[in-house]
Amino acid sequence: MLRKVAAEGEKLPVEERRKFLKNGLVLAGGVLAGAGIGGRTDAAENGLPPNVPSWTRSLGPGVLSNPYGKPSRFESHIVRRNVPWLTADRIASVSFTPLAELDGIITPSSLVFERYHAGVPDIDPEQHRLMIHGMVGRPVILTLDDLRRMPATSMIRFLECPANGGMEWRGAQMDALQFTHGMLSCCEWTGVLLSTLLQEVGLQKDAAWVLAEGADGSHMSRSVPLEKAMDDALVVYAQNGEPLRPEQGYPLRLINPGWEGNTSVKWLRRLEVGDKAWYHREETSKYTDLLADGRARKFSFVQECNSVITFPCPEKPLREKGRYEIRGLAWSGKGKISRVDLSFDGGINWRPARLNGLVLSKALTRFSLEWDWDGGPALLQSRAVDETGYVQPTYEQLRSARGTSSIYHKNAIHTWRLHEDGKLTNVQIA
């Protein structure tokens, strides 16, 4: 980018050139900080050393210029994006988290991928209620205040749509990390354990399932086994320290840690306890995994161990040969990540990566490994292992077990092809 700006600037008359460079540098501002090269050629008009930039010689806006803060305008490219042809419209659709732009394990609330079946309801919290009934001792209607009075639990857990990467079953199709893996996020969720609520209302004999239902126009509903409800399911009112975002279920949602995102019903209005599953549309027609023999897995809840390299990637190419820290994310719906290995030769040889920062159960986990790029082509892969010993599988293994029509739960080892010019593309290899 900067090279391009500089090269095109060479062709212009001096005065025009200064103007061009000024504008060009504003445009390239987002890249400048990360690239660290190319900015030294013509610094007369900019604020690079020995000059002092304009913002160092003036006042900035004061407090409350943005009562609810927002990112720098130079980061305005960090947004959710969609794939228009995936869905019939944007009301029942999905958008993707820009994983290439994120560091650490927490996804900012504004960037958590969206998945709606009837758009985002505009819910007045004063008018919102959680009804718990069915095979319980005392059917209740709870307000948000009631829920906030109960013991609060916070947990950092990933949330992933089971269709994440589903476009890749038949072959590499999406040429950006945002679209190959972006139905993925990780937040701190705060609320009341569902087990606390069920204990509070009391369960009748033979209770075995809980139906969770949303207050949106689709009344999204899923049957959740009581084992999960009594284990770590959380009825959530806060996300990353503030009230849930409307896109994420404001004012109340369910979080089933480690399970496919669809079961974590948003805009939660009702929990019904029963002795059998309900077999609603989202657990029969959808969110079942069709296999090669024509049969389908049902109640395939767990998001199995998965990983992806987030730097470099198609959105973040390498600029020159030399040493880089290769970085990525690993996660498992069955617990903690125990190790991640990286390959640069398409899976012939592997090197253990370092796990960085917090390694939490059912949370995104950071890994990295320093690597010297010699400027040649390479095939970059990551392979995660979770604490159950499960090793992230290859495409070949997944396809041989399931065929190519499953849509959901694709967790294959992913390959980035690094080209000699430093660009990366999504490929599948054998």
């Binding site: 980018m1 504008n23 445009l27 501002g29 987002g30 890249v31 304009s54 900035g60 806006p61 210029s65 305008r73 019939a88 009804m131 009934h133 001792g137 005392r138 059917p139 209607i141 709870l142 109960m150 072959g171 590499a172 040429d175 009391g202 369960l203 009748q204 004999k205 689709s218 009344h219 029963g274 309900w278 077999y279 609603h280 549309r281 029969t284 024509g294 049969r295 389908a296 897995r297 049902k298 199995e304 190419p317 030769d345 398409g346 012939i348 040889n349 592997w350 090197r351 392979r383 090793v391 599988p393 293994q397 997944l398 077990a401 399931r402 029509s405 999504n426 490929v427 599948q428 290899i429």
Partner: protein, 321 residues
């Protein structure tokens, strides 16, 4: 207080939770199953009704929200409808997305056909070819359809449309009348096509060295767009023009909001009346080149001309009324 007393009646659950189980016993438990003092003092063991928050849900309140239907028919209301009766309803309420024959319009769901396609390369998962239970159809139409107006159909209409979609899949006759009593008897073709998740179904090895033969690695697929020379990093950088108010707050407000050095205050008509006669372009030129105490571009060279113009327009918009 009365609530706490009433919840004591279900204290059977307290004992059950005390042993970290979620099963329960019958309704005839009496006071001897109350939690002991020791149990109450444990932070992890609380009897049902420990908090007592919320209101008891009345049967009427529950009925208004309890819309779920199960394959065994639990939840189905009284009512009926024929496929014939559902045809016009379907045509008016459903066909614009799902097609007159359930064939689907654009990317909206296909409802019919696809029989025998589940093992094909491009399976067509429809009500007839894939859905295991007819109850799911009734539940979903009532729950979420019509798309733009969910819960607007009455129960008879839901029975009629359900019957019509079943008819489109050759599962009932045109004159078939669907009711609460015969819906569970409809056998869907793929009712036995599902089994409970049995993963893990793959077992990769933790190989570290020479896991494949050298030279054996080949690329099997690549996105078509990979051939283009577009640079995603270039595409990603788009810095829009600042909103006028933002520029004003950063560059202009320090003087203009307080009226320092005779700077006109936005919204103060006395300050602006004479200046407004100059017209926008003259004022913009004055800001860009500087005037009086005001330096060129309001003193902030980092703003583009367009940013400055946006700020001027913002200030004018505050001052014209």
């Amino acid at each position: 207080m009365s609530r706490l007393l009433s919840t004591a009646r279900i204290s059977c659950t307290a004992m059950i939770f005390a042993v970290a189980s979620y099963g329960c016993v019958g309704d005839d438990q009496t006071d001897e199953s109350r939690a002991t003092v020791a149990e109450l003092n444990s932070p992890d063991i609380r009897p049902a009704g420990h908090y007592g928050y919320g209101l008891d849900a009345s049967p009427e309140e529950i009925a208004g929200w309890d819309i779920d239907i199960r394959p065994d028919g639990v939840g189905l209301p009284e009512g009926s409808g024929t496929a014939e009766g559902g045809e016009m309803l379907y045509e008016n309420q459903c066909a614009s997305c799902h097609g007159s024959f359930g064939e689907g319009v654009g990317r909206y769901p296909v409802l019919s056909g696809g029989e025998g396609s589940l093992t094909e390369a491009r399976p067509e998962k429809t009500v007839g070819s894939f859905w295991p239970y007819a109850s799911t159809l009734w539940d979903y139409i009532h729950r979420a359809m019509p798309y733009t107006e969910p819960e607007s159909l009455n129960d008879d209409e839901v029975y009629a449309i359900t019957a019509y979609v079943l008819y489109l899949n050759d599962l009932v006759d045109y004159d078939f009348e669907l009711t609460r009593h015969n819906l569970t008897g409809i056998e869907m073709p793929n009712r036995d096509g599902f089994y409970v998740d049995d993963r893990p179904d793959v077992n990769n090895e933790l190989c570290m060295q020479n896991c494949k033969e050298l030279g054996s690695v080949r690329i099997t697929s690549e996105p078509e767009a990979a051939e283009s020379d577009s640079d995603p990093a270039d595409k990603a950088v788009v810095v829009p023009t600042l909103a006028g108010e933002t520029v004003y707050q950063q560059a202009c407000a320090l003087c203009h909001a307080a009226g320092l050095a005779d700077a006109p205050v936005p919204g103060n008509n006395e300050d602006w009346s004479e200046r407004l006669t100059l017209g926008r372009n003259v004022m913009l030129e004055n800001v860009l080149s500087g005037k009086g105490a005001m330096p060129p571009q309001g003193g902030l060279a980092r703003f583009s001309d367009a940013d400055v113009a946006a700020a001027v327009d913002f200030m004018l918009s505050q001052s014209r009324n």
